[in-house]
Symmetry: C2
């Protein structure tokens, strides 16, 4: 898996699970304590977030880490 493929999966899965939870970017960003702008960048594959942020996102969405690259 190349770096771009990783960011694609992370982006797509976060957006997928966020919508499944019926959360806006603003709401999720607030829960995870990051800026709305940055969450938007993550979902659009324009950011490579730290492991801590990714795990906090998973916790907020009630998914396990593997789901994020599934």
């Amino acid at each position: 898996m190349t770096d771009n493929e990783i960011l694609e999966k992370v982006a797509d899965n976060i957006r997928l699970e966020r919508l499944r939870c019926r959360l806006s970017q603003e709401k999720l960003a607030e829960m995870v304590d990051i800026s709305t702008k940055y969450l938007n960048m993550i979902e659009n594959r324009k950011a490579n977030p730290t492991v801590v942020i990714v795990i906090r996102i998973c916790q907020a969405l009630n998914i396990d880490l593997n789901t994020i690259i599934a």
Copy 2:
């Protein structure tokens, strides 16, 4: 799980699995294409690596993502 707890688990599990593979920090760092210094910082909880680096580490160690926070 607090941020420090996350970094602790990531650190400990990477070191554990690296030793299980009988790899030196230098060897693994080279496989993952990061500096030895930085891998050392990760294993000593002094770095919060990006998701791309963490996943490349998992790939090099043949473990899945969940293992890193198990």
